[in-house]
Symmetry: C2
Subunit: 712 residues, 2 copies
């Protein structure tokens, strides 16, 4: 047997052995067996659901496709020439094609539903197609995908098959075994490759890296460092194996498991007595027709989305003075993420994830844990998505919604001893939170849309989950030579938490009292007084600058050159003549500092500014481009904005990017406490006066009577 045949034999042997190995796993308690694993990797497992959604019908033009409609799409497509004669194809997304905005704006409850259409992204014989499926006419239109680089979002099937592809490689299996790892203990991740030049050109690729889950559910803390398997996503073939880190030991499993069931009983410690948000009269919101939320003065349409996670549409506020329902935001969602890791070495340089367009922020949102992800009073909404073969499936409890009282104050005033008048007037702050949590492999993103009764919308991103760590031979910082830089923090023996950034870019189609709005930067400038004008030498002056074109609205935030960012309706003023508006209020954030010519930053160029404003364009919704996977960055928000189109008194879209620099610390091991940041959309002269002036305070008589469940 020559070397080549020997390798073939090895390959066959291991391929065969693999099947047997699955029956032999020794996973820690409570981990699924590998047989179960295989099953779980199939997203078509029978849904264990309170609602199978088979009888759902759409009620609103923006309602997502139903189970029935997705099935219809699949049926219609199966007769279409593109698919009829294809042995294999994959449907990367089947989503509602939202009707034209003016039609939606005109539509009222009771009107006949607008014609239902689906947008389908399909790959057939190595070519990506975008199709429109008209569900009424049963017609299919195939669109040009354009000359842009990039591929559609991976399907779950892509991801699953990529993680299994390496096992077909004898070389892979050999190096795993040589590292002392049992093949059955492997957990592998399909990592998007980004785009760095020729290597990523003209084929759809993933890089697979693996971990051992022996003795821990937290396999992320046990990386098989330096081993990267390049897999062709279309052919499922291993293209190349990079095997560099054989001298790096695999970190220990001890103290990495985070599951409650895996804790030693005597080490578990409840720090606080039970505490709960209680509403014996029930929540104050209603959800009409599955998606239309009505709460306090707010009304909005809420739906899960495979790519964006959650989409808020047609957010309107009932004016407390006029009773009129006023437009605030036509559509808001997480458009894209950008997560560059800060390690230029071979197994790490490419890690510059765009989680929405590469993995699907909604596809990665798992069912929320009642009582822990959301309080007891939460309402849950399921996602209905399509698998690669077009079959619908249900992601249960994907979004939750709850009323929050955090003990905070909506407004207050006491008269002080100075005036001596006896007044204390305080109103508690109660808000409505819409939440999803996407688990993009190791990391967890918690996205909250929090609606306040005073018209403010707070958009908050929380980061939790598990760090993506790097194996290292070092067990202590005192072993690290002075000149050596680790690209991160030694978190535990043999583990480095690599520095990285997170950017989350939000699409905010503001419609302040109508679609035609203007973006105004209200710049706060120091103004010197003239000689003799005042005992003061300086004061701050607010100067309004209308953004006429897109470039005027490219904003880098500056602490020492601050502005407020108003979206106003130039055709409407308040009683005393101020333009009605909403402002974007940044809070803590981070800016990308990567070289603008870096190919990752070109792809993530939508993070070059914190704020951008573009004219509404139905095709410009995904800040990194529709086909972000391996894209070269020629179709991003930055490109669109460079056209410098007029944006004054137009239907405009505001883009805001929330950023985090993350230098890991030991507290992030083995699972990280949530870190959050947020920004606000806040009414600014939108109302004539404080819209919650006339809400009553809490009275003891209205609050519930509670006993501990033990005594109940």
């Amino acid at each position: 047997m020559d070397t080549r045949n020997f390798l073939r034999f090895l390959f066959l042997f291991f391929s065969g052995a693999l099947v047997l190995l699955y029956a032999w796993v020794h996973l820690p308690s409570d981990l699924p067996s590998s047989a179960e694993l295989l099953l779980l990797k199939n997203p078509f497992k029978p849904p264990r659901l309170r609602n199978s959604h088979v009888s759902d019908v759409p009620h609103h033009p923006l309602d997502p496709l139903t189970v029935r409609e997705i099935n219809q799409v699949r049926t219609i497509l199966s007769c279409h020439a593109l698919f009829k004669f294809s042995v294999s194809y994959a449907l990367h997304s089947i989503e509602l094609e939202e009707p034209e905005k003016p039609l939606v704006l005109q539509w009222k409850k009771g009107d006949p539903l607008l014609p239902r259409k689906a947008t389908v992204v399909a790959r057939v014989r190595g070519v990506s197609h975008v199709l429109t499926v008209d569900l009424t006419a049963r017609e299919v239109t195939v669109h040009e995908t354009g000359s842009h680089s990039g591929y559609p979002t991976m399907t779950i099937e892509d991801m699953t098959s990529a993680t299994w592809a390496p096992f077909a490689s004898a070389e892979f299996n050999r190096t795993i075994i040589q590292r002392g790892v049992d093949l059955t203990d492997l957990a592998c991740l399909p990592l998007s490759t980004g785009w760095y030049g020729k290597a990523e050109a003209s084929r759809r690729l993933a890089k697979v890296q693996c971990y051992t889950m022996k003795d821990t559910a937290n396999f992320y803390m046990r990386p098989i460092e330096g081993l990267t398997v390049l897999v062709d996503l279309d052919t499922k073939q291993v293209v190349e194996i990079s095997d560099k880190g054989r001298n790096i030991p695999i970190a220990k499993a001890a103290n990495t498991d985070y599951r409650f069931s895996a804790m030693e009983f005597n080490k578990v410690k409840a720090l606080v007595n039970p505490i709960s948000l209680e509403q014996p009269k029930g929540p104050s919101f209603t959800v009409e027709d599955n998606h239309l939320v009505k709460w306090a003065n707010w009304e909005f349409h809420l739906k899960p989305d495979a790519r964006a996670g959650v989409i808020i549409s047609r957010a309107q506020f009932r004016d407390p003075d006029t009773g009129e329902l006023r437009d605030v935001m036509y559509k808001g969602f997480t458009s894209e993420l950008f997560v560059p890791y800060m390690d230029p070495t071979e197994a790490w340089y490419f890690k510059t994830y765009m989680d929405a367009g590469e993995y699907g922020f909604g596809l990665q949102s798992m069912p929320l844990d009642p009582l822990n992800d959301c309080p007891r009073n939460a309402y849950y909404m399921d996602g209905v998505f399509a698998a690669a073969d077009g079959k619908p499936y249900v992601r249960s409890n994907m979004v939750c919604m709850f009323e929050r009282y955090a003990g905070d104050v909506g407004w207050r005033h006491s008269e002080s001893p100075i005036t001596g008048i006896k007044i204390t007037e305080v109103r508690p702050k109660v808000t409505l939170v819409v939440r999803m949590a996407a688990s993009v492999a190791n990391y967890d993103y918690i996205v909250d849309w929090e609606f306040q009764t005073d018209g403010l919308i707070k958009i908050k991103v929380g980061l939790s989950g598990i760090l993506m760590v790097k194996g290292t031979p070092y067990e202590n910082m005192n072993q690290v030579p002075a000149q050596e830089y680790l690209y991160g923090t030694l978190l535990s023996e043999n583990i480095i938490g690599v520095i990285h950034d997170h950017y989350v870019t939000f699409y905010l189609d503001m419609d302040v009292d109508g679609s035609d709005n203007t973006f105004v930067k209200v710049n706060i400038q120091s103004q010197k007084t003239s000689q003799g004008e005042s005992p003061r030498r300086s004061y701050l002056k607010a100067k309004r600058n209308v953004a006429k074109t897109e470039k005027d609205a490219q904003v880098k935030l500056k602490l020492y050159d601050p502005s407020e960012f108003h979206v106003i309706n130039p055709s409407k003023t308040t009683r005393v003549g101020n333009p009605v508006g909403y402002k974007v209020v940044p809070s803590g954030t981070a800016a990308s500092l990567l070289d603008l010519e870096d190919s990752s930053q070109k792809r993530g160029a939508f993070t070059n500014n914190q704020i951008w404003v573009t004219p509404y364009n139905k095709s410009e919704q995904w800040a990194g481009g529709l086909f972000v996977y391996q894209s070269q960055g020629e179709d991003t928000l930055a490109t669109w904005s460079e056209r410098d189109r007029p944006i004054e008194n137009k239907d405009i879209v505001v883009w805001y990017t929330l950023g985090f620099h993350h230098i890991p610390c030991q507290e992030d091991f083995p699972i990280m406490p949530t870190v959050s940041s947020s920004f606000d959309l806040k009414p600014v002269n939108f109302f004539e006066s404080n819209p919650i002036l006339r809400v009553p305070p809490n009275f003891e008589k209205d609050l519930p009577v509670c006993v501990s469940s033990a005594s109940a």
Copy 2:
């Protein structure tokens, strides 16, 4: 009768009439009568308290002076030469003189209490004195007050008498009547003058401005614009009257009242069903000996303070691994505020308040409203302060403390469809909030110290209350000539909300595992890769810069040159060799943009940087200086820091300034919804790993059973 005699007559007439007028008030319903007003203006009203505190005894070296101790101080002082022979004197503060830090650090419960001393600030015959009163030895030491400018914090009596002083002026009374305002409807405020040169030199002054409270409790919205009465605080005499705004109408009362009792019944609207934070098994914290708080892994000493509002001392965290109680912060409090208004005209230029040192942030903290300022499960703490004659009085319910569950997530992870493993582990986030609310005349500041189980301390400032507004002849923006700048926003007819800033500077004596600490700026820099090193052109690198001296630690935050700000213990590392530390994590903030040579900015020079670090010095606690009132800014944090003392591996104090630019908007009228900002003190390699790894999730069986009170 010549003019002079006529004026004397008028003066006597009005002075006399004043007494009668108080019996004749026509205040809107629910406002106290002016007789009550007079009574209320006396802080010695009999306490309506659950606890008179007369039997309180100190247990801890940091416990505030008790009622009995304050009485002792008064008795001791009354025998001292300085006071014995003085007809009149005022005690501006009587506070515990905290024992030397090493003694406090050594002290343990059960040890005899350290000798109790009081620091007294007194004004006797126009001279300020600082005295130490030894309560055991009954000895008084008089300290040099130094050559610094400035006066002590106003007493409540100063403020009250200043507001009444103008009534003795015939000119004042005449102009009020000429403006059509009844004298009995006046509400006047004593405004600190700041320091702008000779006019403020060598006498203690206040500027009094007035409002009419006719038909509204919200007199702040009815300014008598342009009328400023300069009053000598020591003699109570009117020094000067500036009367400029006679042509400016007084804004209407309509829609300004914010009291629930003043609402028209049919306009009140409850937006939400009752919602409550419930803990049937009670709170998880204990308060030992009145001031020592123990909650989850935290222990700290909490006390109200007349100047700072709330002081947190000896914050320690019990290490979940070792069980050891570890030092985090020796002392933290609101050191000073700076609130410059941005209008250089005569009646406004001087408004550059320093609320802690001028008015007393604690003195202005009124009793919190149970159920509305804090949730139902809150615990309340009273303040015990001294009046100007040295008599103790009790400010009840000045501080609240409660456990918060806001529906948020402490940490979470779900395994995604990529790995297909069935895991969802989530831990709810429960925190402990310590809250006070200071009402410095119109504005309300809500200060929260929020302790998290993961070791993080969030310090949050909320702004609510009522704007300080300016009268204007304009009723609509269309009346304002294009070239005219209003210095703010027209909020309603005849009312401008003047632009202003708020800066709140915190003193944070961090003791990370001991007193000797080092401040490290971990700078995040873009690093270019060298040719051929990587497909990446750049990555971000963390570079640690130790601050050797104070100037190294003067920090202006920069989005595009970011750093983390670590306070580490250079003598202690984690198991894997990282220095243990805490970091200061800024969030949204604002920086002062005033001219550094502006006399207001010189006084507020502590806002010239967002972060400063100084070596511990018992005398450097008040960022604007001990005697801030009319100070010239020669004794601020900025001055101290300019000495550039060594700070490496020393007992250091971190100063953080939280800022807000406030361009008012109509939503702020007539009372503003709370605006908040915060910063965090966050463990960074302080723990070996996530300190809340082993807390259990919520289980339904542990949560309470609640019914609405109506059905109970």
